[in-house]
Symmetry: C2
Subunit: 347 residues, 2 copies
C-alpha cells in the first residue's frame, strides 16, 4: 500500500533520528532482519549481520524504547511514591529502591507528593495509564484505604514502611518498630534506669504505636507517656513543660524519633541538666545528625535503605513475571546504636 515501503525519504528539513526502517533500507534488508540482528532473537547470516551492524553504527541508530515498550506491553519503569525526598529517611529508602530497580534493568519515576492528595492522585494515574509497570508506595501517612484498595489487586503495588490492616494480597516491607522499642527498653533497664519518659509520635501511626509498645514491655519500669508529632519543637516543648511543672519524673528520655530527641536534649541543656550525666536520652531513626551531635545520640538505626530495596525487589519479582502477587510481608531488623547520650543513672 505505501509506496516504496522501505525507501529512504528525500532529505527533509528537520533531521529526525534514524529508525529501524532507515537502517534496513541502507543495509538493503528488511526491518525484520535488523531487529533480529540486534536482539539475537533469530539467527542471521554473519555477513548480513555485519553489514547491518556497520550501518547501525554509521547512522547512530538507537531503538526507540517507546515503540518497544508499546509492543512489549510493559515499560520497564516503576514509580516510587513518597511524601518528601528531602527527608533523610525517604532519601535512604529511595536509594534502596533505585538500586533494586537498577539491578533488574528498571527505571524509577520519583513521585514526591508533599503529603498532597491531588498530587498523589496524579501520580497514581501513571499506573492506570500503564506508563509505569508498578508502584512502590510509601506515603508516610496513614494511607487512604479506599484509594489503595481501588488499585491493589488491579495493579502491581508494594507497600514500603506502611501498614494497612486487613488488606489482602499485599506486598509489604517494613522495619521492625516493635523490636526497636524493645531494644531501647532493655538497654536502659540494663544501665539501671527504672523510671523513663516516653515521647511518642502521633497515635494514628502504627509504627509509632509499635515503638512505644515494644519499649514499655521490655523496660518493665515506670513509664510516663507524652504524645508528640515527630518534630523537634514538640520534643522541646514536652520536656520543658515537665521541667517547669516541678522536675522530670525520670532518669531517662526515649523519644520516638531523633528530631524529638534533639528537642528534648536542647530543653534539658537549657535547664542546666547534663546529658548523659543527669539524664540519658535515646532517639529513633539514626539520622545523619545523630552521630554528629554533642553528645552523639544513642538511637535505633532504621533500615530505610533495606525497606526501599526489599519492597522494590518484591514488586519487581512479580511485575517481571506478570503474575498476580500472593500476599507477603517482610519485617526488617533494626539495630541499637549505643552512643554518648546514655549512661547509668546518677544516684
Amino acid at each position: 500500500m505505501t509506496p516504496d515501503p522501505y525507501g529512504v525519504r528525500p532529505d527533509s528539513a528537520v533531521r529526525r533520528p534514524a529508525s529501524i526502517k532507515d537502517v534496513a533500507a541502507a543495509a538493503g534488508v528488511s526491518p525484520t532482519t535488523v531487529s533480529h540482528v540486534l536482539s539475537g532473537n533469530r539467527p542471521v547470516n554473519e555477513q548480513t549481520a555485519a553489514r547491518v551492524r556497520s550501518v547501525v553504527n554509521r547512522l547512530g541508530y538507537v531503538p526507540a524504547s517507546l515503540a518497544r515498550s508499546l509492543q512489549a506491553g510493559a515499560t520497564s519503569v516503576i514509580g516510587l511514591l513518597i511524601p518528601d525526598i528531602s527527608n533523610t529517611f525517604f532519601a535512604e529508602l529511595a536509594k534502596g529502591a533505585e538500586d533494586a530497580a537498577h539491578d533488574l534493568g528498571y527505571g524509577m519515576i520519583l513521585c514526591n507528593t508533599e503529603f498532597d492528595a491531588d498530587r498523589e492522585d496524579r501520580y497514581l494515574g501513571m499506573i492506570r495509564s500503564r506508563f509505569i509497570d508498578g508502584m512502590v508506595y510509601a506515603s508516610g501517612s496513614p494511607p487512604s484505604r479506599r484509594r489503595l484498595e481501588a488499585l491493589m489487586g488491579k495493579f502491581p503495588i508494594a507497600l514500603a514502611d506502611e501498614e494497612v490492616e486487613g488488606l489482602e494480597g499485599a506486598l509489604i516491607a517494613t522495619a521492625d518498630h516493635e523490636a526497636g522499642g524493645r531494644l531501647v527498653g532493655e538497654h536502659l533497664r540494663q544501665l539501671g534506669h527504672r523510671r523513663a519518659l516516653m515521647l511518642t509520635g502521633p497515635r494514628a501511626l502504627k509504627s509509632s504505636v509499635a515503638r512505644a509498645q515494644g519499649f514499655v514491655r521490655a523496660f518493665r519500669g515506670e513509664v510516663v507517656e507524652r504524645v508528640g508529632d515527630f518534630k523537634e519543637a514538640s520534643g522541646h516543648r514536652l520536656v520543658a513543660r515537665l521541667l517547669e511543672e516541678g522536675g522530670l519524673p525520670c532518669t531517662a528520655v526515649f523519644a520516638a524519633n531523633d528530631l524529638m530527641a534533639f528537642g528534648a536534649l536542647t530543653a534539658l541543656t537549657e535547664a542546666g541538666l547534663s546529658v548523659p550525666g543527669d539524664v540519658s536520652v535515646v532517639g529513633f531513626d539514626d539520622i545523619r545528625a545523630a552521630s554528629l551531635a554533642h553528645p552523639p545520640l544513642t538511637t535505633v538505626h532504621q533500615p530505610a535503605y533495606d525497606v526501599g530495596r526489599t519492597a522494590t525487589a518484591q514488586l519487581l519479582q512479580y511485575v517481571s513475571r506478570g503474575e498476580v502477587p500472593p500476599a507477603s510481608r517482610h519485617t526488617l531488623p533494626v539495630e541499637l546504636k549505643v552512643r554518648g547520650s546514655t549512661a547509668p543513672p546518677a544516684r
Copy 2:
C-alpha cells in the same frame, strides 16, 4: 483488511485493559470520535459525546500513555542524574527539580549513579532511546567532557551545579560559590579575625576553588590553606595534624563544606579548645546537621532546591517548545547563616 475492525473480540481468558477500540465499538462510533470527545480536539455532537463518555466510565477506560507518547513523539518525562540521593544536598536539589517538573506536567526519572560511570552511561542511554525528553545533569564530580559533548546539542540537557568550561550552548544553574566564600571572609574579618585556616575541597572542582578564592579576597588577612576531600575525616585529620605540629596558626577555621567543619570541630574539642571561645569555625552547605550541632554551625546556605528547580525549569522551557536552546546561565544567591560557632577572637 482486518475483519470486523472495531468489533469486540470474543471473551478471552486474560482480562486486558479496555482500549479506545473497545470504547468505540461499545458506543457505536469510530475510534476517531472517541479521541475527539476525550481531547476536545474537534467538536462532536453532544448526544454522541455523552454516550461515549458513559461508555468510558463503564469500561473504566484510561488512554494508554505509551501509545500517546509514541504518536506525539515526546514522553513528558525527563531524567535527573545525580550521584547520591541520600546526600541532603542532592535530595534538596531533587526536590526542586521534581517540583518544577510536576508544575509543567512532567514526570521525572531518578538516575542515581553512585559515581559509577557505567551506571551513568546506562542512564544517558535513556535519552538516546528517546524514553525521556531531556536530562538534568548534576553528576557531582568534574564531568567527563567528552560524554557530555556527545550529547549536548543533540539532546536537551541542563547542567545543575556543574561547571563545564568552554561548552557552548549550555543551560546551567549553579550556586554562587565565590560569593559564599566572600561572605564568610567578610564575616570573620568584621569579627576581628586576621589569621585563618582554610580547608578546601579537591582542586579539580571549580566550585571548591571558587569558594576559596572568594574567601581569600574578602578576608584580606593571613590565610593558611590545606586541601581536603569534603569528608569529615579529612577535616579532623588536617586540624589534628596542625595542632600536633605546635598549635593552630590562626583564630578561625573556614571549611569548604560542613562535613569537614564538623571534623575540624571535633579535633578542636578533643584538643581541649572551645568553639567559639578559642577558635571560630565556619562551614559551607548548611546541611541539616549544621543547625542541630553543638554549637550550631555558622555556615553558608546553598540554594540546592533552587538550583534543581531552576535547571529543570530552563530545560523544560525549551523541551516543551521543541527549540534548540541558546546558552544561558543562572547563578543563584547564597546566604550566610550566622550561628553559634563564630565569635570575636580571644586576645
